[in-house]
């Protein structure tokens, strides 16, 4: 058997499974997006009507901008912070183990509980932070002040996810052989040079994984954002997925399917751009 055929044989189970649970639903979506659907038996061809109405609506571009902004802010906060944590953790011992365990804990909290936890934390009567805010008379109103809603979302998301960036970065750093550091010490490399020329190149893979996961999960944030303020105040935190969730809840299957196809295309385009960029750099590096 040729090498190619063997490779495909080994990949087949994963590929078949993914096509079944991912590929078929995507195809169903694409098909339904051209219909006005009253029930599955009762549907009318509308062609590209849904696409036109979504792509010409101002609301879509507003939500898109909000989602892009949210992803950008979240990545700009969590990557430096996660890297800093990973670089500061000692390379062994109990502090490292404890640190990693701590960082991993928020990751296993069910997503719909995260807004509930943070809302209870800033509750003026029962919450630890809420009581502080009241005691010091700090004006904080996440319900009606969009800046405060955003602040709460970003802090909450950072609490939730900074551990993922830090853990992946930590794993990458631990994979660097001590010889590299010794060589750098002999060359009297500065801390920055060690980071730039030894650590960063070795971290590319781990950080790419973190970037893809973080980008995608923040770009399509739904459960957590909805739980905080249901997209408010006056639409200030209405992200792409909240618009879609609304349509699904209203049983607008046709438009929801078209919207899904558009969202999938956007995510794929952005991720493909990341991927191309990395492939180019990989070829440069030989």
């Amino acid at each position: 058997m040729t090498s190619d055929a063997r490779a495909w044989l080994y990949i087949a189970p994963a590929a078949v499974l993914l096509l079944l649970v991912g590929g078929i639903p995507l195809a169903i979506n694409a098909y339904h997006s051209f219909f006005d659907i009253f029930s599955l038996e009762n549907k009318f061809w509308v062609g590209g009507e849904w696409y036109v109405s979504i792509l010409t609506s101002e609301r879509f571009y507003d939500s898109l901008m909000r989602s892009l902004l949210f992803s950008t802010v979240v990545i700009c906060v969590q990557f430096p912070l996660g890297l800093l944590i990973a670089l500061s953790l000692p390379r062994g011992g109990w502090v490292r183990s404890l640190g990693l365990i701590l960082l991993a804990v928020p990751l296993v909290v069910p997503w719909n509980m995260i807004p509930a936890i943070w809302l209870s934390l800033i509750n003026p009567e029962t919450g630890a932070i809420g009581q502080l805010i009241t005691a010091f008379d700090i004006p904080f109103d996440y319900k009606f002040n969009p800046v405060h809603t955003w602040l709460l979302l970003v802090v909450m998301d950072t609490w939730h996810w900074v551990g993922l960036v830090a853990i992946l970065a930590c794993s990458g750093l631990a994979g660097i052989a001590p010889a590299y550091y010794q060589a750098a010490a002999i060359d009297r490399a500065s801390r920055w040079q060690v980071f730039r020329f030894i650590e960063l190149p070795k971290l590319t893979g781990a950080l790419t994984m973190a970037l893809l996961l973080r980008f995608m999960d923040s770009f399509m944030i739904y459960t957590e954002a909805f739980g905080i303020n249901a997209g408010g105040p006056s639409g200030a935190t209405t992200f792409l997925s909240l618009d879609l969730g609304e349509e699904i809840k209203a049983f607008n299957y046709g438009p929801a399917a078209a919207r899904s196809v558009i969202y999938f295309a956007i995510t794929l385009l952005i991720v493909h751009a990341f991927w191309r960029l990395l492939s180019a750099r990989r070829e440069d590096a030989g």
Binding site: R6, A15, I101, L107, V108, L213, Y263
Partner: protein, 264 residues
Amino acid sequence: MTLKRILGTFGFLALTVFILLPLVQVIVLSFLSTLHHETAPKGSLTLLNYANIFRTDRLVASFLNSTIYVSLNVALTLIVALPAAYAFARFPFRGARATFFALLAFRVTPPVVLSLPAFLLFAQIDMLNTPVGVALAHCVFNVPIAIWILESFIRGVPKELDETAFLDGYSTPGFIIKHLIPVIAPGIGAAAFFCFMFSWVEVVFARTLTITDGKPITTAISSLFGFQTDIGLVMAMTSLSLVPGLVMIWFVRNHLSRGFTVRV
């Protein structure tokens, strides 16, 4: 040097407080009576919330359902991801990178996008309201990640290991089971942790695919919110929902800290 140490200690403490504060809040509330109960007046310290969980069949069942689908998902994911990861790491085949990207595309497909058609599809194949259905659906985002992590680990294993085993007469599947799995055990641990994590906390699929039966913890917790929410009970459920995750973290803590190189 001492200044650096003080900064480090301070940073570590700040991080600990930042991470633990919300969780402490959860645990404290879970031991408080937050609604008026006959045996425990509002605001008193009590175990009633936990007792109420064990008294409510549907809450106990939700733990069982979540555990079943997460375990099934992790097992299924590892079984299909391991051979695929081996192929990516060892057979240089045409279109490998494009295929790898196609797999990644499934990881970046938003669950909200897939929830509705997945519901229609699973209704057709009679997979609604069962943990098996949820376990299958969660493969969409877990299989790609598991392949990525395992591939990195397998690539780190010297090729001589394969070659020696083949000389000894092992077939490829035999080699993977007998020799490769023990060597990449940390990688399997790390992959299992990430699969567990993404499946345990996921809400959209888990909720959409279980309408009448087989409901997971996330749905059970959501159903506790109402006109008069017993926040103490909600927080007790949340505290308990962390336990399996903490156990999982405890098992893989060394695997996570030993380190691996992820390749792109």
